[in-house]
Symmetry: none
Subunit: 197 residues, 4 copies
Amino acid sequence: MIQAKIIELGKSDGKREAIVHAAVELFSEQTYEGTRMPEVAGRAHVAAGTIYHYFEGKEGLVNAVYQMAKLEMKEYLVDTMPGGLAAQEGFAWMWRRLWECATDHPAGFTFLETHHHADYLNATSRAVSEEFTLEMMEIFSRYAKAGELKPLAPETLISMSFGAFIGLWKSVAAGAIKDTEELRSASGEAAWAMIRA
Amino acid sequence: MIQAKIIELGKSDGKREAIVHAAVELFSEQTYEGTRMPEVAGRAHVAAGTIYHYFEGKEGLVNAVYQMAKLEMKEYLVDTMPGGLAAQEGFAWMWRRLWECATDHPAGFTFLETHHHADYLNATSRAVSEEFTLEMMEIFSRYAKAGELKPLAPETLISMSFGAFIGLWKSVAAGAIKDTEELRSASGEAAWAMIRA
Amino acid sequence: MIQAKIIELGKSDGKREAIVHAAVELFSEQTYEGTRMPEVAGRAHVAAGTIYHYFEGKEGLVNAVYQMAKLEMKEYLVDTMPGGLAAQEGFAWMWRRLWECATDHPAGFTFLETHHHADYLNATSRAVSEEFTLEMMEIFSRYAKAGELKPLAPETLISMSFGAFIGLWKSVAAGAIKDTEELRSASGEAAWAMIRA
Amino acid sequence: MIQAKIIELGKSDGKREAIVHAAVELFSEQTYEGTRMPEVAGRAHVAAGTIYHYFEGKEGLVNAVYQMAKLEMKEYLVDTMPGGLAAQEGFAWMWRRLWECATDHPAGFTFLETHHHADYLNATSRAVSEEFTLEMMEIFSRYAKAGELKPLAPETLISMSFGAFIGLWKSVAAGAIKDTEELRSASGEAAWAMIRA
DNA sequence: CATGAATGAGAATTCATTCAT
DNA sequence: AATGAATGAATTCTCATTCAT
């Protein structure tokens, strides 16, 4: 009964969802190549063959995973961004949202970091990625034009600040650093110090 | 002359080195799991079986690669560090050395970033990694005690500044940002702004 | 009818059995090490990979084969032994059963002779073997206590009489001696003459 | 100097000897197929390549081993047999010589048992084997004609009595039975009881 | 003659994918 | 749609043999 309801509700099938979910986890814990299809099936509580009803092989699955994770990230950082924020507030908001995104979807977040450049990503995946990058570029360019950022290419500032966050997040995820409210704001301020004019 | 001496010392006529060299390149271009042994053999101009004279299987090889790369990095950042530098100069020196290390050994540098957490790393590899981390901790702790750094855990500052460099380097390696002398110093100053008191 | 039941019980549509069957034959015709997995697969009319669904590698297979053959032999010689036979009748019965076992399962019988001491036999295989040996010891010890056997250790008498049978069987299997009813009883009487008091 | 003398003395080379010696041991402890050439080289204290100066590959080696072992056995049982013995004494003498042969050359003796039928034996090896068999046949036929043996084919009596010895020897070699003078004579008498008229 | 590093054909094994049920 | 046993191509690894030193 409950199962039936979940299926009827959004998120389509439940089974497809479960597969993608299992896959992000395994791809992020291990690697794409290091993860076996029956392993994915097992964690999704689904038969191996079932995956092939929903995805075009392993490559189809990893692309679905990638797009899902990237769109999720876009939702956190771009789609929900309040308009009209000045550079400092805008950056602080993004930093906070990065934390939230990484905390809410640790597997997806880690997966994206580890599987950028992969040659199994198809055109759609690359397009989704590209779109996100452009949106970020636009935001940083706006701040730069307003003279709020260091005189470095927006690309440089984005790479460095995202890099700083990822470095920090990796340590947190590894348990080397404890995630506290204090850390979230202090690290954001530090990152801002790196890029502000 | 020097070459002659090396040949006399190690038994190596360079075959072992050639294999490790081919392996770092391929592991960084692709992945550990995504790289096939004959591929490594081919790039090293060696028969497939030869790899097994020098390394205990693929796992033995990847550990040799990891240790080599990590020790290389340690040499750039720790072993050759001039004593007696104050925090700002010390950090600037390290930032420059990171660039040099990444430029001189791009494959090794990229490999380390992508293959941290891998479960095929053995005790020795983990020990080598640990030692490097401890050395960095010591340096940053010294700067922190001198009151030159932001009041955040050294681990946090290290993660963020290394993360910033890696983010930047990835963009450079991907061809999105051009590596200039200007960029090297400006980015270093920006990173310093992030961590200084 | 019986066949139908077996199919319902075990999951087996006989594939596992076919593999074991092919394996005993090949292992006895050649050797364990001298037999190639695809050869086993071929004779079992199964794909090479299928063997690995049922057995843990070649070693798993050879152990399954060993246990099967040993239990088969135990069934012929121990499990079906009528109670209450005096020494001479008991021995005659066993001798006859050895012939039947060797004739009905020539591959298994030969395999056991050739692959005793092998170091790929696991704990279970050794336990099965040990149990059979103990049962034989018990039987011979009983006969010895009744004063019907020569004053030699039961172990000695078992080794010699089984050895005599195996020597004979090898010649029969090689075609050097013809298996006749006459031979079966005469050889049994001869063997009895060797061990009787 | 000493080395030179040994080489001059019989047994040709010393190195060839060492290789054959190492090979019998390993082939009997393991199997022909289960033994690696470098392993043989190692135990013979010789380089792997050296084996190929003396033998035509692994197959050449195993044939040399087989012939050596078989001729050794022939020497013990046939060549040195005193003429003019009656059946019972002749058999007792052979039984004693079997013990001596097995004790003096355990590896060779075991090797022969385990590697009869092997398909890597060449014409020469088979000829040597055949010759031994014929000699034994002759001896047993003589005893049979004299009416001293049971009315069974000589082949049958040979197979059974040799089989009995081998069975016994295996238990002794495995440590399950202790080799004593008492056992040697009692077992010989038992075996004689099996075949005598 | 002796060596043993190097070779590469061939063996064991894995794993993405299919397909009868 | 769902299953999971079966497949066999692809992969790792072994080992008899060669050959430059």
